[in-house]
């Protein structure tokens, strides 16, 4: 469910707005124009309320929706006679299926010839430890070994290995295509421009929308689950690789050319080695995105931890779901730390003393031999193949989570209801009424106007196109309902982001304490916390908003914290010596100087909130999220679900372009 559109790097570098002398005049007039648009909108709303709102009942379809249904049906009916299937999709499926089965039989599933996986737990732990040490350092190796052992102690060894196999195959396939494509996009501006919209699309399109068609094309099973994961996880690798290639200093590339290097040589000897570190970060993002898909892929029978989460949810078993969710978090943290360490290893190694370097090679050899022994043991002996013990830690984690949830439900319910009603009546309902009860053209015009004023004429044009297409999807009214919730959620994300971001940015200690829980909140599958939230807030739009905030706020906090920390210390010192108190320093110095971080945080907050719309549909948010889920569940609503998915993408593109353009302007 992550939409990680990596833009942090861009904003600083691509800022070419040159209107500094008139900036002050323009800024005043800009906010006045915004106010003007809003006032006109409110006036017209009062007059035209309830007219031309383009609302559509839950079971109603437009022609477009029915047409999409027909396309879907005809694919299903002709899949055995269509050459595209026989020679194309079926072959792809076969290859990927074989890959997945191969990795599964290696570490997670028994095969015909071997009643347990080829490599048992001891071997896997050994390999993980050795590889982490070889590509990173001994600290992450220790973390990796501890983490993987913990998975076994949770009683989830096999599920974890299933998840790991699926993640590995998806990441392999994603990198196989992603890295070359990324290199190409990095070398050629035109390719980059063509690829970018597709990547946006792949990341913002709700996964639920393409799950059903994928099973239609690639059948139920490992292949479909892997391909669904690849679609979602490949974009970060492509984007970041392209970015890495582009940010190699031009002088270096020129120097290589002047020394007579061919294009091929320049790429292999200069560009790729120099961008290696960033590319590894891209791989890291791809792994994280693949792990985020684990629970969604479980809906089309992907094996692993996601299945445990989804099944536990059916009987509202929060404890079991949390235990499995925690395993996903642990695996994500291990993989994240290892790849991060891998990306920094060479640099650190160069800095550290050389004495250790000469030891490295022989030690690697010894490690490899030891690992081979462990693998052999785990292949041969039962005690090393099957994780010992009953997973006692897992059941105590589960009952602990159960107790905590029950306590919260019993004791906080009154408080949370009051908070929910205040936000719903005070903020959400007025917004929603304004958006859904105004005529569509009025809302559209207002959006285009605001887009132009905040983001410039390009953003205005994008907004106009998006509004037009939104009307075309036939789910305008649901789109506006979703938009209202999205805006309220983003406001809450920004409030939290500023409070915690400033706090973290000002204190290293707070940062160190808070950051791990932010990481966990981002990786924990939202399905896990839906049940407790439902108990606290009921099946309402507000529950969906809270779920989105939990997911999106960590990103905003991290970005703002970095922004605040990057304010030069000398500036803060100057303000202190001028007699400013803490409050003044924050509001007059640190926040204004971190303004571009704030806009970026808004951008990412919005995108992350939008990526939770479908999850919101599961807990009472209705609107687009429900349409998408319904399209996945019912054949005759398939087309409508697809249209709703498109509408979510359009909202995402619209806001992304506006906030990005605004960010470029503020940082200029």
């Amino acid at each position: 469910m992550t939409v990680a559109i990596e833009k942090p790097e861009k904003t600083g570098t691509e800022t070419v707005e040159k209107t500094t002398p008139v900036a002050r005049v323009r800024k005043i007039s800009r906010s006045m124009v915004v106010a003007g648009i809003v006032v006109v909108w409110l006036l017209l709303f009062a007059v035209l309320r309830g007219k031309q709102t383009l609302s559509l009942a839950a079971a109603d379809l437009t022609d477009l929706h029915s047409w999409l249904n027909d396309v879907n049906d005809s694919i299903g009916a002709n899949r055995n006679s269509n050459p595209l299937f026989i020679y194309g999709f079926n072959e792809i499926r076969l290859v990927i299926d074989n890959l997945v089965t191969f990795i599964q039989q290696l570490i997670s599933q028994p095969s015909d010839t071997h009643p347990v996986p080829q490599i048992g737990w001891l071997g896997v732990v050994g390999i993980v430890g050795y590889v982490s040490w070889a590509v990173g350092n001994w600290r992450v190796a220790l973390l990796a070994v501890a983490g993987f052992t913990f998975l076994g102690m949770q009683g989830l060894w096999q599920e974890s290995m299933d998840t790991l196999s699926l993640t590995l195959s998806a990441v392999l396939v994603a990198l196989l295509f992603g890295i070359p494509l990324g290199v190409w996009a990095g070398l050629s501006g035109r390719v980059n421009r063509i690829v970018t919209p597709f990547l946006d699309f792949m990341q913002t399109m709700p996964t639920f929308v393409y799950l059903a068609p994928l099973t239609l094309i690639f059948l139920i099973g490992g292949a479909s689950a892997t391909i669904a994961t690849v679609i979602y996880a490949a974009p970060p690798a492509i984007r970041i690789t392209a970015h890495a290639i582009r940010s190699v200093p031009e002088t270096t590339a020129e120097a290589a050319a002047s020394l007579g290097a061919t294009r091929r040589q320049a790429l292999l000897k200069v560009l790729l080695p120099m961008s290696k570190r960033t590319v590894v970060m891209g791989i890291n993002q791809t792994i994280m995105a693949a792990l985020a898909m684990v629970t969604i892929a479980a809906l089309i029978d992907a094996p692993g931890l996601g299945k445990t989460v989804v099944q536990a949810l059916q009987s509202l078993d929060v404890g079991t779901a949390f235990n499995a969710g925690l395993a996903i978090v642990v695996m994500a943290i291990v993989l994240d730390r290892v790849t991060t360490a891998a990306s920094m290893r060479e640099e650190l190694a160069r800095k550290s003393k050389n004495r250790f370097q000469s030891w490295r090679r022989p030690l690697l050899g010894v490690g490899a031999a030891a690992t081979a022994v462990l693998v052999y043991l785990s292949h041969t002996y039962v005690w090393a193949a099957e994780f010992p013990g009953e997973g006692g830690i897992g059941s105590s984690i589960a009952s602990g989570a159960d107790t905590a949830t029950t306590w919260a439900q019993d004791n906080l319910s009154g408080l949370t209801n009051a908070f929910r009603d205040a936000i719903t009546n005070g903020l959400l309902n007025p917004f929603q009424t304004l958006l859904t009860d105004s005529p569509w053209w009025l809302v559209g015009a207002a959006l285009v106007g605001l887009g132009t004023v905040l983001g410039g004429w390009r953003a205005g044009v994008t907004t106009a196109v998006c509004v037009g297409l939104l009307v075309g999807t036939g789910v305008w009214s649901d789109g506006m309902t979703t938009l209202a919730s999205t805006i309220v959620a983003t406001i809450m994300v920004m409030v939290l982001g500023i409070v915690f971001g400033v706090w973290m940015g000002r204190s290293q200690l707070v940062d160190r304490v808070v950051r791990p829980s932010l990481d966990a909140a981002q990786v924990m599958p939202p399905f896990v916390y839906l049940v407790p939230f439902l108990a606290l807030f009921g099946a309402t739009r507000f529950t969906a908003i809270v779920a989105a905030v939990v997911y999106a706020a960590p990103v905003a906090m991290k970005i703002i914290a970095d922004g605040v920390r990057n304010v030069p210390a000398t500036t803060v010192e100057a303000a202190t010596s001028a007699g400013c108190n803490t409050w003044q320093i924050i509001t007059k110095v640190q926040l204004p100087m971190a303004r571009s971080a704030l806009t970026l945080a808004t951008n990412q907050g919005l995108i992350y909130v939008l990526s939770m719309v479908v999850v919101g549909g599961l807990v009472g948010a209705g609107a687009l999220g429900y349409d998408v889920v319904a399209g996945f569940s019912q054949g005759q609503l398939y087309g409508k679900g697809l249209a709703a998915g498109l509408a979510i993408v359009l909202l995402g593109v619209m806001f992304d372009r506006i906030t990005q353009a605004a960010a470029r302007r503020t940082s200029a």
Partner: protein, 324 residues
């Protein structure tokens, strides 16, 4: 050079130590226990692909059928967790052999049985599916007349929530449910608004909380369902169902029919002569049976296999009739 040689010696020593531990530990070797059925499962049944739709009642069906197929017929059962729509897709592609609990779904029957001819009906499960509007038990006790739809408008204001826009809230659940609720509210002139919770989880949580905190909730629910053994929800009477009163979806003003839940299998599977097909065809039990197994799974937190084993051992006579 000398230093490197020493390192190699250290390494060799390390390997030697590990090698010693290896031989010293020993222990059971993989594959030499031979007691489990890994080798002997190649009966004539072969592989049986069973779809498991996402609700606990279905899981109970699947657990028992899978247990019997594995233990008595020596089939290799592959369970696939899928939503209905996707499970039916699997009939045509050979990935799914049977769906054990179908609720109506005339659209899917038309598409896959009549048009594509990839699926066939394998008869009823013996379960009777009731769909309708339910209230928590405390509410039915406090206001006995609430179980008749005629008095719903009287209480509409009590059912108001932040989501229902000033009207009473009628909570609906998962989008895959068969529902006429919007039409019903309109045609019965009820001062209610249908609010979509979006998932069964959300629906159950709402009822559970309502019973615990004595809150006003009315919503869509169905039987047989394990949750009813935890909170025995009370069904609200709607205008009686008569044949054909639900023919026009927009004009429905009557209760839901009693669904005879049935089993659907792939056409290929029906012709395969597999004993698993006969098992699916003969599989038949009552709502109480299903609720018992569902309760083992959802409330007592037994694994589906353990739950099935417990029920099968206690009901051997019923099971024998399926595999005779």
């Amino acid at each position: 050079m000398a230093r490197q040689a020493r390192q190699w010696k250290v390494g060799a020593a390390g390997i030697a130590v590990l090698g010693l531990t290896l031989t010293a530990c020993g222990g059971a070797k993989v594959g030499d226990s031979g007691s489990d059925s890994a080798g002997g499962s190649s009966g004539k049944c072969g592989t049986f692909n069973l779809a498991v739709n996402p609700w606990v009642g279905y899981e109970a069906d699947a657990a028992v059928v899978a247990y019997v197929a594995e233990q008595d017929l020596k089939c290799k059962v592959v369970k696939k967790d899928l939503k209905e729509e996707i499970a039916w897709q699997g009939f045509g592609t050979g990935e799914v052999d049977a769906v054990l609990e179908n609720w109506g779904h005339d659209d899917l029957k038309k598409k896959y049985i009549t048009d594509q001819k990839t699926a066939v009906d394998a008869g009823p499960t013996g379960n009777e599916g009731l769909i309708g509007w339910y209230v928590p038990p405390w509410l039915a006790k406090a206001h006995p007349d609430i179980t008749d739809w005629n008095s719903l408008n009287k209480y509409a204001a009590n059912f108001k929530t932040s989501e229902s826009g000033g009207k009473g809230q009628l909570l609906d659940g998962d989008p895959s449910y068969v529902t006429n609720d919007e039409a019903l509210v309109k045609n019965l002139k009820l001062d209610f608004k249908v609010v979509y919770a979006g998932s069964e989880t959300a629906l159950i949580q709402a009822f559970r909380k309502a019973e615990k905190n004595k809150e006003w909730v009315i919503g869509y629910f169905y039987e047989p369902q394990w949750f009813l053994s935890e909170v025995p929800l009370v069904k609200v009477k709607l205008p009686e169902y008569k044949d054909g009163c639900d023919a026009d979806a927009a004009k429905v003003a009557c209760d839901y029919p009693v669904y005879k839940l049935d089993k659907i299998v792939s056409a290929k599977f029906a012709k395969s002569g597999s004993p698993a097909y006969d098992l699916v065809k003969n599989f038949n039990w009552t709502n109480d049976d299903q609720n018992t197994v569902a309760k083992y799974i959802a409330v007592d937190k037994m694994t589906p296999e353990a739950a099935a084993k417990k029920w099968v051992e206690a009901n051997r006579d019923k099971v024998d009739a399926w595999i005779k």
